[in-house]
Symmetry: C2
Subunit: 417 residues, 2 copies
């Protein structure tokens, strides 16, 4: 039944399923020269909200702010600026984050209902170590509050306003039915590497109109992020600002909950959310700085999933593997040797490797294969599949990364100032 | 006294101090199209020998062979081929390594003294996953045995024959006096990245004529390697073939050892050996594939040296830091944020950073500095010094790496076959 429901979750490249109760805007406030640089998402009512954040010890002020506020069951808005990460900005950085939350809270407050700064989450992305031009940000916020709309245009503007070096806005959307009612998920994200001059980061904001508690939001978000944003890399440089947020309406106080059907519905929601997260996450290495290939690395045969994950990540971080894919070079020695220094025990004689389904190494010895055929299979597709077996264990993992091209180096060697 | 002796250790760019008792040759046996590809170092008498080897689980056959033979007090020769790593080559790879050792042993055996394969160390470097052309190697070995000479030319040919993509032969040499006698150290190494088409690796062979036990050789080698080859990286890809060897004559059975003066002499030897190792090691990232800068990363203020080392290595592995240096971009946010994900606790407010002696970040806030001056200091020198303080602890470490340029990517994206 839930499987049926799951398959009813529809994806469309052209349709966006905007969850009811949310509105959004994106505009130019002046941090960047001309592109959109301020986004606002508003919920008509307080909602459940959860966040997952960068593990970096050096964190932007807004990350500390959001960590203090989530999980929450009373969030009203998320405000985002691009073009400036507000990271490594000391005490003033914290004051500026608070000022952004306060300005949104004040603008949303009415005579009947006061909104507190604690009900506003704040995201910043862009260059590190430069103070925010607050007069521009604070003049943009009231305009954004005026402009928010439930129409698709508002969400499109918001998705554009969170971009830094992304080539295009990144969104994903699904809808499904439960109990005769249609529900929706809409997500936007940004990220293409952590690069100068705008030291970009990964941000994601995902909205739904399926009701849940803040604890459920937290649990579902962590599961979805673990399957997606925690399995991608561009160059493996953990940013100061990484953040993924999930917002969804609270369960009405009067709701009469049937726990059996709720478990089933929660399962459907989780599956659909996982799909949205994965679709968002894969857009990041696909659009990685200078990237020409999305590399999918599948590792199996370890004694645990965690061990497979460590091997997959080590391969994904190897510049030699990433440059080989860029050059359509079936240089499998680089892949096998990267696995060898992942710190996971295996017997090299049990190792088998295939590239795009073509076996290149088996039982610890070179397989006989036509290198030109493997090379062509890499050159002719935007996605390269690397499958490594290291034994007979049941552990498995997948990781996605982008290839490393001269264009990446050029983009990142450009002088910031 | 030992300090005085130490300062007598002389370095010369033109003079090579070849330890007595060793001879060497380098020649073309046909693995490569035309360059020298076979080196042989022979000791007239059995010597003490020690080795340090790659930590990679996927190891070349020769590495396993050498690990089994060292430490040893009866080594007679080291044979090296370049152009082929003999790694990931299965059972045949092991047989080929043994055949190389056997051929050298047979060639060195006389009617009076038989040399065993176990007295010969074997090194291979080059492309992974291709079987060695053994008829070429085995026809080259007798010629190398005939050609070995104590003259400088033999060592110069050997240093050239171990190169893969190195731009030049890498050597270092010292001499010093102890007890009225002159002693010498001569070392050669190769390495410029782990790169295709010849997947290069780091190899070093260091010879001395100062007498020692194999246990002393092992101890001195580990100390010297830890201060040098264990602190450099090009792109952080641990190879299948990394190896550093130390060979020095045994202590004569009749020797009457004064333990006090021996401790002092051992100290002098260690200091001199450390200098030779560091001079060899720094030539590798300086000659790193496509490199335009040697980056020296000094970290201080952690609670232990090990913590400082982890931060220094994390910064050294960041493509964003390496591309910034290539572009003379004083993008300090990349350095501070890399430190933040090294897994070492510190308070960002205690962090200070300088580039080439110019302060760019202090007490967790951007310092006021002229970015053009810092940029010019990077652009105008081949060496970039990054100094990071993360607190008041006494831990400190240094690591060296090369910058990351578009030329590195081009070299490594070229198709192998």
């Amino acid at each position: 039944m839930s499987e049926n429901q799951r398959h009813m979750a529809k994806k469309s490249d052209t349709e966006w399923y905007i969850p009811r109760g949310f509105s959004a805007a994106g505009l130019h406030c002046g941090i960047k020269a001309s592109a959109l640089d301020l986004a606002l998402v508003v919920s008509a009512a307080p909602v459940s909200a959860a966040g997952v954040y960068t593990q970096n010890l050096v964190r932007a002020a807004c990350i500390d702010w959001n960590r203090d506020q989530t999980p929450s069951d009373r969030i009203r808005a998320v405000v985002v600026n691009s073009g400036n990460a507000n990271a490594c900005t000391g005490e003033r950085g914290f004051r500026d984050t608070l000022a952004m939350a306060s300005a949104v809270a004040q603008g949303l407050s009415t005579a009947d209902a006061r909104v507190l700064p604690e009900q506003v989450l704040v995201l910043s992305t862009g260059v590190i170590g430069v103070q925010l031009p607050m007069e521009k940000v604070l003049s943009g916020i009231p305009r954004a509050i005026q402009q928010v709309t439930e129409a698709r245009t508002g969400f499109a503007d918001a998705a554009n306003a969170i971009r830094t070096t992304d080539h295009h806005a990144k969104t994903a959307s699904r809808r499904w039915e439960a109990g005769g009612q249609e529900y929706r998920i809409f997500g936007m994200c940004k990220g293409a590497g952590m690069i100068g001059p705008n030291m970009a980061t990964m941000l994601a904001i995902v909205l739904s109109d399926w009701h849940m508690t803040s604890a459920e939001a937290d649990m579902c978000l962590r599961h979805a992020a673990d399957q997606s944003f925690n399995r991608i890399s561009v160059e493996g440089h953990t940013s100061t600002n990484d953040c993924a947020l999930l917002l969804a309406p609270r369960i009405p106080a009067a709701a009469n909950i049937d726990h059996r059907s709720r478990d089933r519905d929660l399962y459907t929601f989780q599956q659909t959310l996982d799909e949205v997260f994965l679709e968002l996450a894969l857009q990041i290495p696909t659009d990685g700085e200078g990237a020409t290939h999305l590399i999918e690395i599948r590792v199996a045969g370890t004694s645990s999933d965690d061990e497979a994950d460590r091997i997959a990540r080590t391969i994904a971080l190897s510049n030699l593997v990433k440059t080989a894919v860029a050059g359509a070079d079936p240089n499998w020695g680089r892949i096998v040797s990267a696995a060898g220094y992942a710190g996971v025990p295996f017997n090299p004689r049990d190792v088998g490797l295939s590239i795009n389904g073509l076996s290149v190494f088996a039982h610890g010895e070179p397989a006989s294969f036509d290198a030109r055929v493997v090379s062509r299979s890499i050159a002719d597709a935007h996605r390269t599949l690397i499958e490594l077996e290291v034994g007979a264990g049941t552990g498995r993992a997948v990781h996605w990364t982008s290839d490393l091209t001269a264009a990446y180096v050029k983009l990142n060697a450009e002088y910031t100032t």
